[in-house]
């Protein structure tokens, strides 16, 4: 398992993943980690207050998501599941954008190409094929292996340990391997697929899955943001330079229930989370910064203040996310609305007028 920062906050080296990173950059990562955790905390609170219908928490997985997300270049494309709020952050997606689907005011509704961040995908594994197809497009556009750092493009596909069992994910591996496509598969092995431990999906470590499809796999400490950054960066570099796909397994832990609907006491011991708490992705960076880096004395307080402001933005913004109008039910089913659907809409509008009159 690749690790560049120990739980105690010690920088360590790994021969395959040298990481030349300044303390300022590490501090920036720290800021990311704290802020996305805050978004998450806030969203959970909003769900409790009935402002969101559901939330899938990223708690414990911040390092995996920030490490992976910060490894992306502008032109790279990313395909999240429903939990990659941290990656969204790295892609400059306003957290409010993510809330609509959990609030039930839309089904996502953002433009994947605005921030090169695809819509959340709820059907487990489906997005890995989309990522792979997108990578086929990248190749066809001649945007791989040219050596031009602003042109060469990689694709990053997220999925979970549970998802590794889906046919679609394995078909994505087939395509990516056989086609040598510029796609990196980033598996957050958070040990659980709802109530099922990863052992139900595989008796060998998941990073090994790719070798039989003809491309390398690597396990990284998913609670180590530096490790995740370095490993993903290398994998994306390989992809961009036409070296083909990589599977990254970020070994981490889902600290919270699967979603706000879930009750993990039914299937796992609280002590497990206690153990993992010792490996917290944020604490280790804080320890490192405190001990090793020359940071402004106000650094941590500043970030806390920023987090507070962000939280307010999320809270206020969420409440303002308006319900869609009933008539919008019929929008965007097709690019060109068929007459028969137009008729349904007319009848619906007439009915509404009648009921409301």
């Amino acid at each position: 398992m690749v690790q560049l920062l120990t739980p105690e906050g010690q920088r360590v080296e790994h021969p395959d993943y040298p990481l030349d990173i300044s303390d300022d950059e590490i501090a920036a990562l720290y800021r990311d980690l704290v802020l996305v955790r805050r978004i998450d905390t806030e969203a959970i609170a909003l769900q409790r207050q009935g402002e969101l219908g559901l939330w899938a928490s990223l708690l414990g997985q911040e390092a995996a998501q920030i490490g992976a997300g910060r490894a992306l270049k502008q032109q790279d494309m990313s395909f999240p599941t429903y939990r990659e709020h941290g990656v969204a952050w790295c892609r400059d997606v306003d957290p409010l954008t993510l809330l609509g689907l959990y609030r039930g005011t839309n089904l996502g509704g953002w433009d994947p190409s605005s921030n090169n961040f695809n819509l959340y995908t709820i059907v487990i594994g489906a997005q890995t094929l989309h990522a792979t197809g997108y990578a086929m497009g990248v190749v066809r556009d001649g945007a791989v292996g040219t050596g031009d750092p602003d042109r060469d493009t990689a694709v990053l596909a997220f999925f979970g340990d549970g998802a590794s069992s889906q046919g679609d994910v394995n078909e994505a591996f087939v395509w990516a391997g056989a086609g040598n496509l510029p796609v990196v598969f980033f598996c957050q092995n958070n040990q659980w697929a709802i109530s099922e431990p990863v052992e139900r999906q595989s008796r060998v470590p998941l990073y090994q899955r790719s070798s039989g499809f003809g491309f390398p796999g690597v396990r990284v400490d998913g609670n180590d943001v530096l490790g995740c950054l370095a490993v993903t960066r290398k994998a994306l570099d390989d992809a961009r330079s036409a070296q083909g796909p990589t599977l990254v397994e970020a070994y981490t832990y889902r600290m919270n229930p699967h979603t706000t609907n879930d009750d993990p006491r039914r299937y796992r011991l609280g002590s497990e989370a206690e153990t993992w708490k010792l490996k917290d992705p944020i604490e280790r960076v804080r320890a490192y910064l405190t001990r090793e880096a020359k940071i402004e004395p106000t650094f941590f307080a500043d970030i806390d203040a920023e987090a507070k402001k962000l939280a307010e933005h999320v809270r206020a913004g969420c409440r303002e996310l308006a319900d869609p109008t009933p008539e919008s039910l019929f929008d965007n089913v097709h690019v060109t609305m068929p007459d028969e659907l137009r008729t349904q809409r007319t009848e619906f509008t007439e009915f509404l007028a009648e009921v409301n009159s």
Binding site: G53, L107, S165, Q166, E196, Q201
Partner: protein
Amino acid sequence: MAKALNDGLRKALEDDPKVVIMGEDVGKLGGVFRITDGLQKDFGEDRVIDTPLAESGIIGTAVGLAIRGYRPVCEIQFDGFVFPAFDQIVSQVAKFHNRSAGLVKMPITIRIPFGGGIGAVEHHSESIETYFAHTAGLKVVSCSNPSDAYWMIQEAVADDDPVIFCEPKRLYHAAKAEIDEAPTPLYQARVVRPGRDVTVVAYGPTVSTALESANVAAEDGIELEVIDLRSMSPLDMPTVLESVRRTGRLIVVHEAPHSFGVGAEVAARVMEAAFYSLEAPVLRVTGYDTPYPPSRLEHEWLPNLDRLLDTVDKILEY
């Protein structure tokens, strides 16, 4: 209804050692809706199986278990996640008995929490019954109350044919009801409220909408006869026709999108068998021909009291 299903499944496990339950999170967790709560504890991991996360695998391995003589009861976690298993269902489960010239049975029950109204995210509110009803070799049923839930699940599991068992998830935690002493035959519809003016055919989640409408309509002196279809395939047409011949008017209610749904089939059959009895066209109150909407709009999209009453007015105008 959750409790009734749980009791029914428990009974099924007790009655036949070949019954196995399988699906995602059905074991320790007892399913995301707790329908299989406690069953793994009581019957063991061999009989209540937490599977890997892959629906085609769940159904495909169930086929193999059936070939070996088992009677698998598969849970699909949510309606929208049955599609990865679609191939195994329509090309294997539905056809295997036929392919084998009747030598192999496929006594597989596929339980699917279906329909909307629970404020869920995408893919968690789909109505999938018509896909299966259109597939020869499958039977498709839905329960609308705890008593039916208790009995129908047992009848489905005991059936030697594959059954798609659609559970109206929004009724899982609806008020408790008495359990009937004996089951109604699985593929039989039931008149749940007699009436003389308009027949309303519903199933699963829309039965309660229909009954509610009947109460309201009754205040205006309009008597709706509500039929709970219970089985969408096969269709118990005699029960429906007997009613429509009396009322002359039929409304079919379902959550599934309007077009190419169960309503169309019922309408076509009624027209064919009771052409001269119909005083109005069969009308349908259904979901619209759009993807299931974001949950804040779902109650506009779903058939509801107002829409049904409005349609009652319309059908009486003929």
